[in-house]
Symmetry: C2
Subunit: 244 residues, 2 copies
């Protein structure tokens, strides 16, 4: 048999990562608003039963994400929100954990409406055959999915490969946002996707336009898909809700 209970995801997570996550969530949660001072290193060590070494490494991670800054004799201060790396996978995850899901998903959709149509148009002009292939096989994955849960992963792959096909590295960081969004939309709307076949058709329209090198068609097809996602979201969470 494998691991026992399902609450232990794979590996026990290194101590400094646990600390970074704990402190990061506190910050995103608003426990320490921007401008305020965090407890000092020794104090974090006491709270988590960790050595200063581990605490400092966690803090350096958070500094790397733009959440805090440190100065001798002062301590660690929370940076203003506009310096936060909100698109970072971890930060976004902590944000999800701390924030109302619906509000967050609406923000994500708004950003997607601004970005993805333009990205699809770019992809239609610049995608390589290999990139087109990757998009197509993601779509195949969606078709092949038996349960709605298994549809999410290929869906994510579809959008990630679309972004990759835009061939502009500065747009890649948005992949993390899309990834978090799609995973959470499923969490939120659960099994009540109206008609999976419809979603697949909408994705296929994008693929076709990108394949034929029609930027404007790709843009419009993406807008249609996003509008559809908006409608699914607007229906609100599934009545039963989800446990975890």
């Amino acid at each position: 048999m494998k691991q026992q209970s399902p609450r232990q995801q794979n590996r026990p997570l290194k101590l400094h990562l646990t600390l970074a996550q704990g402190i990061g969530e506190d910050i995103l949660k608003g426990t320490y608003p921007p401008g305020t001072l965090l407890p000092n290193e020794a104090e974090w060590g006491r709270r988590y039963g960790a050595s200063r070494t581990a605490v400092r490494e966690a803090i350096k991670t958070l500094v790397g994400k733009g959440l805090i800054g440190t100065r001798p004799k002062i301590g660690s201060r929370v940076e203003p929100r506009d310096r936060w790396n909100l698109l970072d996978r971890d930060v976004l995850a902590w944000h999800c954990a701390a924030m109302d899901k619906k509000t967050l998903l609406l923000s994500v959709q708004e950003a997607r409406h601004i970005l993805e149509p333009g990205i699809a148009a770019l992809a239609a002009r610049r995608r390589t055959p290999a990139q087109l292939n990757r998009i197509a096989s993601a779509l195949e994955g969606m078709r092949g999915a038996k349960s709605p849960g298994l549809e999410v992963e290929p869906d994510i792959q579809f959008h990630l490969s679309l972004i990759a096909a835009a061939n502009n590295e500065l747009l890649q960081p948005f992949g993390g946002m899309i990834e978090a969004a799609l995973a959470n939309i499923f969490e939120y709307t659960s099994v009540n996707h109206p008609r999976p076949s419809q979603a697949i058709a909408l994705h296929e329209n994008i693929l076709k336009a990108v394949a034929r090198g029609k930027p404007e068609a790709a843009r419009r097809a993406t807008e249609v898909l996003l509008d559809n996602t908006d409608r699914i979201l607007a229906k609100g969470p599934v009545p039963g809700g989800r446990k975890t």
Copy 2:
């Protein structure tokens, strides 16, 4: 009297930051392509004359930015590019240092064309009076600038406050990109801005549309401004070039 001579660049930069910068630049420069292994911690320590502690803190910073991942017995491996936090201020700076400026600026402009019109439209719908004020005073700053160099800072402020006025936190991380872009465009095109008065007029159009709550007008005005910037960029660098 304020600080004295400019010979001391602010502060001697902490050791772990020097390390993070050095290693980060190496990665962005392509010395260690994605998927390859970095030298181990002891080796970095030897190269920089630093303790393992300092090296490890630098590495944790880079992990935080998504550039590398670490595993015991394996070492530090460069992550695939689509996990890099390219919008992070530091990463972007290292990227600038490593890459051809023109190519980078073209990528930035492309991203701006996708993002900023939509952002301006959002801002027209949602800006608060205070946010509108901040945009207006940035424009005033541009007007008041005596030398072209002094015009850059208010220009940056104009765009940052426009992004802020969109009131979508997920769009904020792009501020760093715009910031780096505008600073470098000045570096690149130097003093040969054709007519500052024209640039100011184009910015003013955006402000007016946002003030009047006209999303589509704001979108179009932003597109016009970006097209203008494109033209300035297309002229290429100033013949004399810049020293630094």
